[in-house]
Symmetry: C2
Subunit: 414 residues, 2 copies
């Protein structure tokens, strides 16, 4: 496939991608958009110009502040629409000759401002990387029995805060809170001293299900519209003091950052790979057929205040022990209902090697092995005015499909 | 105060209450409503008849599927509007003589169907009863050190699932899930065998705050519109297997039930009482002035399939160790942002005496002391086709203000 819009060969946003997002455009209007290379395409204007007439939609679903309405049409509609957009962007297409519409609908990237792609009604965070769970267990519990007994039987997860999920580029203030230093008698209060990122990916659902309804692993992917990069900012000192017995709370809910472009499962299809062997065998409702893992290269970059990118982690989404279909089957086995736009994050994605660990906690082994930056500084955890950038992309047979990045700067505590 | 609408002296819905809810009316229209005795009053129709003209509202905020828009006006507007509604319902008022409007706006209870009063964007559950936390700690952890070290320093809380909060009367299917019997080598899968209620109350917020913003204990009640009864259904066997290390998940998110009438903090003002002395002293951001506890009588009733009410628990909201102002100050100390309609539940409300315990887990002490029902049956936990009803009311100086009830029937697993 070749688009009439030119882009670099290493662009995440090739003709094979066709992701969806929401942007404030040059005239301050808001619309659902897609992207090729550095060109952002206003889908609401394409709609107005008649380019989606054959789909018989009742209204312009792209003239919206979020993708939720479009997503809620379900894959029956959104998959053909994405394919249609892809065909519109090919060399020789009707749109390629329609300069008037191009003038109205095509924007170059610095002139648009990317917004939250979806309204998120519910947010769940899983804990599905065996390497991450093992590393955390070794540090905080028992090195000999790092993995808790339930871990290989259930895709452990918990509910997070939906309100504080923000789009890439939104700065985050260092949270204040209680913590208890190791040998202190009583807790202290102040800005977190062990602020961390967690390298995750999130998937977004496209349906409302009924309370009591279950979703099988075979059905699960029909309910998944697409994926984003997800930074689950975490205050380790607050977390360690507060998390027993009901889990993380203020250590996490001060902010989570996502990439603005939702990459569809269809765009990721060529990059499917086998998941790890699960032993012991899982219950039948968690068993699945086919390739449900995805080979997505992941990077985390730390940029100190004075600039300079330091790649501090190189991981891959294919390392996940539990896949998305299993996560959704588990989430609904008790009848819990889904909503359109729900966010389901993977948990920190760590690999086996030390440079693939998806958090400062693991990379510096609890602050005992500081990272060296290119400017000569060291980091045990994130400092004020550091920026954390995560990138993700797939590459195979000369085809590249990526997520761009999720970026967030830590500002001093308020 | 005396209303021209007559009601029983023991009605929760006296002229002093004026709660808010949402109902499907006889003509299938939906509107925000209030209630006196058994009379439900359609506020959208009162609005159309000009009864709120003096408030200069841009649109009929009561012509809505939820209270969110009304609540979002803030107390500056909602408090005078509630007082105005109260004055309209007094003997001798303009409305008392306007039979035409009464015919349009007044309904009797069996002819309306109460709906979810608010759309809930975020749901947090606290754990703020010292008696409950102590009982659970004794059963599951160490009887000698039942309370965890953090409990008296922080109002422990965690995020719950917003999508599965349902209104009173909605039946709930028994959840299926994994659990691990005490001496088994591996987990089992099936319908929960230890299904429980949790007697809680929830408060609802009325504002959007910015990420990074904190709310002091002095400001907190300005952000609280009102309260409801809250049944946090819990599957104890699923919970015990899944909850380490990230907290309850499928054990809770299959359903939570709330009462349909939101009772405002203003209606509860006469029933304020001192809270317990907090020792050790809490951090300054958790300190507060004035009476922040409320004397609200609570009851839980179990009705087996063949009928007959069994009062199995008699508790009181005044037992709470941590009050709502402290909960909200804690929730935002890290900059977590609030949204209009957010639900904040108290955690199980247990008192000191054995008949005041707010869950079957505590009442039967983990199933070891079954409850005897009036029909001769016993209950360790909730059985299929049992209905759980919770009631709550305040009474003082001849004034009664109450919540009505939250009721839910457990259906067999699907």
């Amino acid at each position: 496939m070749k688009s009439f819009i030119s882009y670099d060969t290493n662009s995440d946003f090739s003709i094979y991608n066709i992701p969806f997002g929401v942007a404030i455009l040059a005239d301050d209007s808001v619309a659902c958009v897609t992207r090729i290379g550095h060109t952002v395409i206003d889908l609401a204007t394409l709609f107005d110009q008649g380019y989606f007439d054959k789909f018989d939609l009742e209204e312009n679903v792209f003239e919206a502040f979020t993708l939720n309405e479009f997503i809620s049409l379900g894959k029956e509609v959104t998959v053909p629409i994405r394919e249609h957009i892809q065909s519109l962007l090919l060399e020789g297409s009707e749109l390629s000759k329609d300069e008037e519409t191009q003038k109205l609908a095509f924007h170059t990237l610095p002139n648009v401002s990317m917004q939250m792609p979806v309204h998120v009604p519910n947010y769940t965070d899983f804990y599905s990387s065996i390497e991450h769970a093992t590393n955390v267990g070794k540090m905080f519990r028992d090195p000999e029995n790092a993995l808790l007994p339930n871990w290989k039987h259930i895709p452990v997860g918990y509910h997070g805060r939906a309100s504080s999920i923000v789009v890439s580029g939104t700065p985050i203030h260092r949270p204040k809170g209680q913590s208890k230093p190791k040998d202190a008698d009583s807790p202290i209060f102040g800005p977190s001293l062990r602020l961390d990122f967690e390298l995750e990916m999130g998937f977004i659902t496209n349906s409302y299900t009924e309370l009591g309804e279950t979703i099988s692993t075979a059905e699960a992917e029909d309910h998944i519209f697409g994926m984003v990069l997800f930074n689950d900012w975490s205050a380790r000192d607050i977390q360690q003091w507060e998390y027993v017995p009901l889990g993380p709370f203020l250590a996490k809910n001060f902010g989570s950052s996502i990439s603005p472009w939702v990459v569809t499962l269809e765009a990721l299809n060529p990059f499917r790979v086998e998941g790890p062997v699960q032993d012991p065998e899982v219950f039948s409702y968690l068993q699945y057929e086919g390739k449900k893992n995805f080979d997505i290269n992941l990077q985390t970059i730390l940029v100190p205040e004075e600039g300079g990118e330091n790649v501090i982690c190189t991981s891959n989404f294919k390392y996940m022990y539990w896949n998305m279909a299993q996560q959704l089957a588990h989430h609904t086995i008790n009848g819990c209902n889904l909503e359109v736009g729900d966010m389901y994050a993977s948990g920190t994605i760590s690999g086996k090697s030390e440079d693939s660990y998806g958090s400062m906690l693991e990379l510096t082994w609890g602050g005992t092995k500081p990272l060296k930056l290119s400017n000569g500084q060291e980091r045990k955890f994130i400092e004020d005015n550091d920026t954390i950038i995560m990138r993700g992309w797939c590459e195979k047979d000369g085809i590249r499909v990526g997520f761009g990045e999720v970026s967030g700067k830590i500002l001093p505590a308020k």
